[in-house]
Amino acid sequence: MRITPSQTVGPFYSIGLCRRSDEILDPGGVELGGRLLDGRGDPIVDGIVEVWDPAAGSWGRSNTDGEGRYRFRIRPDAVVLEAHVFARGLLRHQRTRIHLGDTGAAEDPTLVALRMDGGFVFDLRMQGDRATLFFAS
């Protein structure tokens, strides 16, 4: 059978997706946050980041704010998170990985989260010299 094609989430996804509690994977955990940026370095203010911590079976979803920022509360000892990115203007979601623990295992330097203030920072760049590596899936 033929695979159903993808379409953009558009600008109004938050009425159907995204609840505040979706950002908490581990209530006692540390913060993972960052910015979703377009090819001009401008924030994408209508994007969604979803992360999945397969070792813990916990999943989360965060819509970006007015500065393009997403945030999660995650397990402090999470090693790698599997991630999807959605946005208006993105006709298909993009698949990536966020390495937090054994960063030597990262497929690319853009997939390593930085440790900062007891948490992690991970920016996502759609284009440009430091564009995030995405995977075909």
Binding site: M1, R2, I3, T4, P5, S6, Q7, T8, V9, G10, P11, F12, Y13, S14, I15, G16, L17, D38, G39, R40, D42, I44, D46, W52, P54, G57, S58, W59, E82, H84, F86, A87, R88, G89, L90, L91, R92, H93, Q94, R95, E107, D108, M126, Q127, G128, A131, T132, L133, F134, F135, A136, S137
Partner: protein, 239 residues
């Protein structure tokens, strides 16, 4: 910033692209700075069989699949049911899949602060629903038919009427966000989002089918729409 693109809003068909949507489709202007510029990497093989999150019955409220019953009064518009099956590409049902939908009201206005289309909001319609597929992979929503609406992509740009769908299957890679359209919409040839799927046979997969057999007399029109995702090792398991 205004983008300098002056080319056609809709490009000619290109069946060679199959089910893939062209992510850097120039007629949809927002893709210009947002479509990924780096070539995609190959996902490590073992990740294709990685399980994804399981959303159980506790995720769902009883009225979540009836968008006409979420307020005190009934929403204005044509009452419809939209139902179908979620399948893998060998035809097996994907059971227990979370299906989330959102849509404009009958006038083409979203219940969202960013939507400035000067059409009325309907106090009896929020436009969001969710359900889980059953053992046959079947989902069903009762709602009202959404209206077409204008957007700022190009002069006199209008979106064909559509319902947004988000799906989670059993594997993490079984993730799909798409839009379902209605048969015979006159706006199809002008919409760059629909036509970013450049294979016309693949585009047709997003168009629902009117179904007289399940249309309820004196009550609601029925539209059927099946959704197909790539197969994984998990479809033979029971939910």
């Amino acid at each position: 910033m205004t983008d300098p693109y002056e080319g056609p809003v809709v490009l000619p068909d290109d069946p060679s692209l199959g089910p893939d949507v062209q992510v850097d489709y120039p007629g949809y202007r927002s893709t210009r700075w947002r479509a990924p510029s780096r070539p995609l990497a190959t996902l490590p093989e073992e990740l294709h069989a990685l399980r994804g999150p399981v959303f159980g019955e506790s995720t769902i409220d009883p009225l979540d699949n009836d968008l006409t019953k979420q307020h005190d009064g009934e929403p204005i518009g044509e009452r419809i049911t939209v139902s179908g099956r979620v399948l893998d590409d060998s035809g097996r049902p994907i059971r227990g899949a979370l299906v989330e939908v959102w849509q404009a009201n009958a006038c083409g206005r979203y219940h969202h602060e960013v939507d400035r289309h000067p059409a009325p909001l309907d106090p009896n319609f929020s436009g969001a629903g969710r359900c889980l597929t059953d053992d046959d992979g079947r989902y069903s929503f009762t709602t009202i038919k959404p209206g077409a609406y204008p957007w700022g992509n190009h002069p006199n740009a209008w979106r064909p009427a559509h319902i947004h769908f988000s799906l989670f299957g059993r594997a993490f890679e079984q993730r799909l966000v798409t839009q379902m359209y209605f048969p015979g919409d006159p706006l199809f040839p002008y919409d760059p989002i629909f036509n970013a799927i450049r294979d016309p046979k693949s585009r047709e997969l997003l168009v629902s089918r009117f179904d007289l057999a399940t249309t309820q007399p004196e009550w609601s029109l029925a539209f059927e729409w099946d959704i197909v995702m790539r197969s994984t090792p998990f479809e033979d398991e029971h939910a």
